[in-house]
């Protein structure tokens, strides 16, 4: 009784310590941001003190156009991510369930995957201008590959013994997918969704920055055009916070669906 009490105490203290250290890190970071411009280490015209940035941020949060922009960004993100996940997962499982399809598509996937999504920016501008579709072109193109590649990895990881057993029991194509492939692939799909979620957010904001579709990226660009440097930094902070939230939410989703699988799901070095 005393031993386990001491161990849980130690665990509690360790967790407390971790929280303290994290707080120190964050506070230290804010302190650097505040002092560097105040002390003149950096010109305050190019890096306003943290307090000024925070004030600008508080001001932005009260503007309607901020929330509208946020809604636009999240809309591109959500729609693009959903389409990418659905397309990537279904295509991945379809291809992965047949050795022949895998062989035929492998080279095409390897050709297309490394093409940077930003190459499509001029095409998107030319075709869709500053509409949602422009954003989606970039978001979907980039996130789709994240999901597809992970799902394909997952399918390849299916236990060959299980697959052969299913075949000897004459499982049909569908049954094979449902009972053998899907359970093994699910953790990989979760990883793919997590990766795609961050990529989708980054591309949505990048599209808004470079093309000018409404959203956080465009607000940043407008702030730059107006010379409002503190507001620019405020938007950077917002983008960072949302990115962290998306990541935390994705990890939470992963954990809730696969609480028993954390170790196997690190990205495959392929």
């Amino acid at each position: 009784m005393g031993d386990s009490q001491r161990r849980s105490d130690a665990g509690f203290r360790a967790k407390n310590l971790a929280w303290m250290q994290a707080s120190i890190g964050l506070i230290g970071f804010a302190a650097v941001l505040e002092l560097a411009p105040q002390l003149g280490l950096v010109s305050p015209r190019y890096l306003p003190p943290f307090s000024v940035i925070a004030a600008a941020l508080a001001n932005e949060l009260q503007q309607a156009n901020f929330w509208a922009a946020l809604a636009f960004t999240m809309r591109s993100w959500a729609i693009g991510l959903t389409i990418s996940v659905l397309a990537g997962a279904s295509l991945g499982i379809l291809i992965g369930s047949s050795a022949w399809l895998q062989a035929v598509t492998r080279s095409t996937i390897e050709f297309l995957r490394p093409i940077p999504s930003v190459a499509l920016i001029p095409v998107a501008i030319l075709l869709f201008g500053t509409t949602l579709q422009s954003n989606l072109v970039l978001v979907i193109y980039a996130s789709f590959w994240q999901v597809l590649v992970q799902v394909l990895s997952g399918v390849q990881d299916v236990d060959p013994v299980a697959r052969e057993t299913a075949q000897s029991y004459r499982f049909g194509h569908w049954a094979l997918i449902r009972h053998v492939i899907w359970p093994t692939t699910l953790p990989y799909l979760m990883t793919g969704i997590r990766l795609a979620a961050s990529v989708a957010l980054i591309l949505a904001i990048t599209a808004e920055l470079t093309i000018g579709t409404p959203g956080l990226g465009r607000e940043l660009s407008l702030a730059q055009s107006g010379g409002a440097v503190a507001v620019m930094y405020a938007y950077l902070i917002v983008m960072g916070l949302i990115g962290v939230l998306v990541n935390v939410a994705a990890r939470g989703l992963e954990r809730s669906i696969m609480p028993w699988h954390p170790s196997l799901r690190s990205e495959q070095p392929v």
């Binding site: 509409t131 730059q224 010379g227």
Partner: protein, 312 residues
């Protein structure tokens, strides 16, 4: 029968109200692509004052950052009208896009010493005039566009050699910093950054827009040839409302200064200090001719723009 009749009348009366109140027909919805800058204040003012509603037009303004983002939606029919700098439009036309200018956009004030755009250099710079720009680095917001064309014209007018200037593309907001950090020797800059730079001590080397052509028309409102042909009446009404807006803006500077902060991030204090462009209602074909010739000379285009088609 007796009790139902008042109800029937009531329903008929209610149904008639929209028909009577709306006048003849519902307004035509049009979208106009604009850049959120001072130049487009007239159309914002015109919408606010009801000049477009008067022409039975319901105008939605969509902002974009420039160039193809304004031209493509108009050419593909996603948008009816757009606002763009005239060089971009001339270049697009030589590439095969059928663009028709329908109203003047914004023009230089034509006054040396007081314009909304100029070539500036840092206070300590040894450069004194446009003539000294030979071999120097000049920032413009878009390469192979009105920026470098007008800078070269200014250099030639001052008697200098324009062939060895090195142009660098920078967004206007980044120019004051680039100047003070000596990343470029000079910059072509427009409001509100011109005032920002002058407040930081920059000096004006030349008023390049004035030097390029008298009362240079720098931007126009445009549509596609296809739309103009199929909707001549709508275009006519738009032009009428636009001209009314331009005339109003040109004579009511205070209202312009009041409306600009509502669609840009320019503060109220800043807008009071800026030099506003001029907004004449006649499209300046002469200055466009000069610009077209310069475009060929400076290699922006491979063939001369067809101004007859452009202004039809």
């Amino acid at each position: 029968m007796g009790r139902k009749t008042p109800l029937k009348f009531a329903i008929l009366a209610l149904a008639a109200v929209p028909l009577l109140a709306g006048g003849a027909v519902a307004a035509d919805k049009v979208t106009v692509g604009v850049i959120p800058i001072v130049d487009v204040a007239p159309i914002y003012l015109g919408v606010a004052k009801g000049f477009f509603a008067k022409q039975n037009l319901e105008v939605t303004l969509q902002t974009a950052q420039g160039g193809a983002e304004l031209v493509t939606p108009v050419m593909t029919g996603q948008r009816e009208f757009g606002f763009s700098n005239i060089s971009s439009l001339l270049i697009a036309q030589t590439r095969g896009l059928d663009i028709v200018a329908i109203a003047a956009g914004a023009s230089s004030t034509g006054e040396t010493g007081r314009d909304f755009g100029a070539i500036i250099a840092p206070r300590e710079s040894p450069l004194k005039s446009a003539k000294d720009l030979d071999g120097k680095t000049v920032a413009v917001n878009n390469l192979k566009n009105i920026g470098d064309t007008s800078v070269k014209a200014a250099v030639r007018k001052a008697g200098g050699d324009d062939s060895k200037i090195k142009f660098v593309e920078l967004a206007f907001p980044d120019m004051p910093a680039a100047l003070s950090n000596k990343l470029v020797d000079a910059a072509w800059i427009v409001e509100p950054f011109l005032t920002v730079a002058k407040e930081q001590g920059a000096k004006v080397l030349a008023w390049n827009l004035v030097d390029t052509a008298p009362n240079l028309m720098i931007a126009v409102y445009f549509t596609s040839g296809k739309y103009a042909k199929e909707n001549a009446d709508t275009v006519k009404r738009f032009t009428t409302a636009m001209n009314e807006s331009l005339a109003y803006a040109d004579t009511h500077a205070d209202e312009v200064r009041a409306i600009v902060p509502t669609y840009t991030r320019i503060s109220k204090e800043m807008i009071g200090k800026l030099t506003l462009p001029r907004w004449p209602t006649d499209m300046n074909r002469k200055s466009t001719e000069i610009l077209a010739d310069l475009s060929v000379k400076d290699g922006l285009v491979t063939k001369k723009p067809d101004l007859a088609a452009f202004f039809r």
